[in-house]
Amino acid sequence: MAPTASASVRRTLTLAKALNTGLLEAMKADPKTVIMGEDVGKLGGVFRITDGLQELFGEERVIDTPLAESAIVGTAIGLAMRGFRPVCEIQFDGFVYPAFDQIVSQLAKLHYRSGGRIRLPVTIRIPYGGGIGAVEHHSESPEAYFCHTAGLRVVTCSSPADAHLMIQQAVASDDPVIFLEPKRRYWEKGEVDTTPLADLPADLRTDLGTSRVVRSGQDATLVAYGPMVRTCLDAADVATEEDGRSLEVIDLRSLSPLDLDPVVESTRRTGRLVAVHEAPSNVSLSSEIAARVTEQAFYHLESPVLRVTGFDTPYPPARLEDHYLPDVDRILDAVDRTFGY
């Protein structure tokens, strides 16, 4: 099933297929774009995100690399210095750490060190998060490490439409981008506008850094990203049915830099904010959100900003992950608690 070129049409795609189609557009848009990673060629990646791309663009542009993550990122930096636009695939979240030095000390810093002379338009795609019953190291949420590092953009999509758009924006960005893919949502379908990036209006082309209200509500605000957006939307449905509460849900989309204006604005209206993610809570995205929203919306808050997150333990064995991961019950429990202050 080779990918097909797409004109401006709306199609129903899985999130995985939307990424595949977005990558296809990125490859067409710039002949300097190269895809590199373990098993990305003939196999099309273990999640088939690069399916059919080697067939279309050849082994020079879709590169099955030796099994070495540090080298995937390190050589991508060199390729970028030579004018290429590498899109690296790290096979699973837990395997990005061998590349940690290349990402945080090299990729993130060269623009700064070179006084802006060096630009490294490198995208690092990482399937992340749990909920798929996997063995160790296949379910982690490493976003905070990268958000803590100046010089990197960190983004994540939650829907097929965003997957298609954001992967193209990430590849087009002249800054390094950590592109986190919510692997448990790969198979969920949604409508996608397959207009290539270049044909979109300018504001849509460059909105990679913006967060978005994905459901409006008045009583409390949920802020999430990636895989937890769906869970928050489900929680909002239940809250309407069972408690008659209307919850607003905001998808951050960009984790670094953060676009918190919509969150602050929403929290000022609802007075209650619950931040949700799979990653552990200690020094996490939700820590940052709570601090900043408290600074900016203090007099509007009816309750402290509460957090529903993975626990501060290693990711547990698969049979325990349902206890570990935030779910509708835990989210609604937190919402209830915001009404108890």
Binding site: P66, P98, P317
Partner: protein, 359 residues
């Protein structure tokens, strides 16, 4: 350096000691009896049967994944049986046959793939470290452990398993360098099963793995990894080298991953079918069986009894696997650190009270 050590040909004939590369290793299996060979056959047969059970249980939804060792039984049993009790093995994630030789209850392997634990055996009790899924990471642990053995004046040697794909990781190359300069009593045991998921070995290196040891300054040997006798002999030789204080040795066992990478993989997308049939003809168990048949040692009755033993071991394992309970929810807070962590303790308390409230 040698090209390929083989003591049993694919059609089951014992190579005679002569001037070939084999000569040096024959001595290490000179005292292997027919009974010993039957023992190796039994090990390989049971291990294959357990492996098939893993695949079957995954298909039935009882395991979330299984990484099959089919085709690699001789490489694992031959090397595993070369180990002494005081030795320490550092596996990757496919060494179910080595685990068997080290006396690890296969149920504990199944628990990993079922998702009830992250590593339920005691490495010290079995001389068998936890599985390492982060490719190559265990080779450095093995190196450090071996450095410790040398410093303690201990008797044991250390063996570190890794794959052909792993040989590209920085960790593995750093382990080579460290083990070499510190003279660590370590055998690097590479099962070159030709594939790293969809990538053939030629994507990892232009030279055979065993030749890479030379640049790091230690000896190496390539063995027919589908020949259990040769693997036993070569690993014994390598362990003796290591124990003697001569530093590390690299063994490359040429073998083949007959099954998909894991149950989640689809090799029809990348692997030529004729390659599979070539390697099926080199089956490690058939080879030893043919040899023992020709010697009149393996009778129908004996073979039936081995098969029955394999079946009953697998049936017992299946029953125990199906009975494996999920751990209680709050077990996920256990053993995060040696000392209690106040954050984890608070989270556990909140978890228990919320679950209680929801019930």
């Amino acid at each position: 350096m040698t090209e390929l050590v083989q003591l049993l040909t694919p059609d089951g004939r014992r190579t005679t000691s002569g001037s070939g590369p084999e000569a040096e290793y024959q001595a290490f299996v000179a005292e292997v009896t027919d009974d010993d060979l039957v023992g190796l056959l039994r090990d390989m047969t049971v291990v294959r049967r357990l492996d098939d059970e893993g695949t079957a249980l995954q298909r039935q939804g009882e395991l979330s994944l299984w990484a099959s060792l089919r085709g690699q039984e001789a490489a694992q049993v031959g090397s595993g049986r070369a180990l002494e009790p005081a030795d320490m093995a550092f596996p990757s994630y496919r060494e179910h046959g080595v685990a068997w030789c080290r006396g690890v209850d296969p149920l504990k392997l199944f628990g990993l793939f079922r998702g009830t634990s992250l590593g339920a055996w005691d490495p010290a009790e079995h001389g068998f470290a936890l599985y390492a899924i982060v490719v190559g990471s265990q080779t450095l642990h093995a190196t450090g452990y071996a450095m410790g053995v040398a410093r303690d004046g201990g008797e044991g040697a250390v063996i570190s398993y890794f794959g052909d794909g792993a040989s590209s990781e920085g960790d593995v190359n750093e382990a080579f360098g460290w083990a070499s300069v510190f003279g660590a009593p370590l055998v690097f045991f590479c099962q070159n099963n030709q594939w790293a998921i969809s990538e053939p070995y030629r994507r990892q290196s232009r030279v055979p793995i065993y030749q890479r040891a030379r640049g790091f300054g230690f000896p190496s040997v390539r063995v027919d990894g589908n020949d259990v006798l040769a693997t036993l002999a070569v690993t014994r030789w390598a362990l003796r080298q290591a124990r003697s204080g001569a530093g590390p040795v690299l063994v490359e066992a040429l073998t083949y991953r007959i099954n998909p990478h894991t149950t989640a993989d689809d090799p029809s997308r990348y692997r030529p079918a004729d390659e599979l049939s070539t390697w099926r003809r080199r089956d490690p168990i058939d080879r030893l069986r043919t040899h023992l048949r020709a010697r009149g040692v393996l009778t129908d009755e004996l073979e039936a009894s081995i098969a029955a033993e394999a079946d009953s071991t697998a049936a017992d394992l299946r029953a125990r696997c199906l009975a494996l309970p999920d751990p209680p929810g709050d077990a996920l807070f256990d053993h995060v650190q040696v000392e209690e962590n106040n954050l984890v303790a608070a989270e556990r308390a909140a978890f228990v009270s919320l679950r209680g409230a929801l019930l």
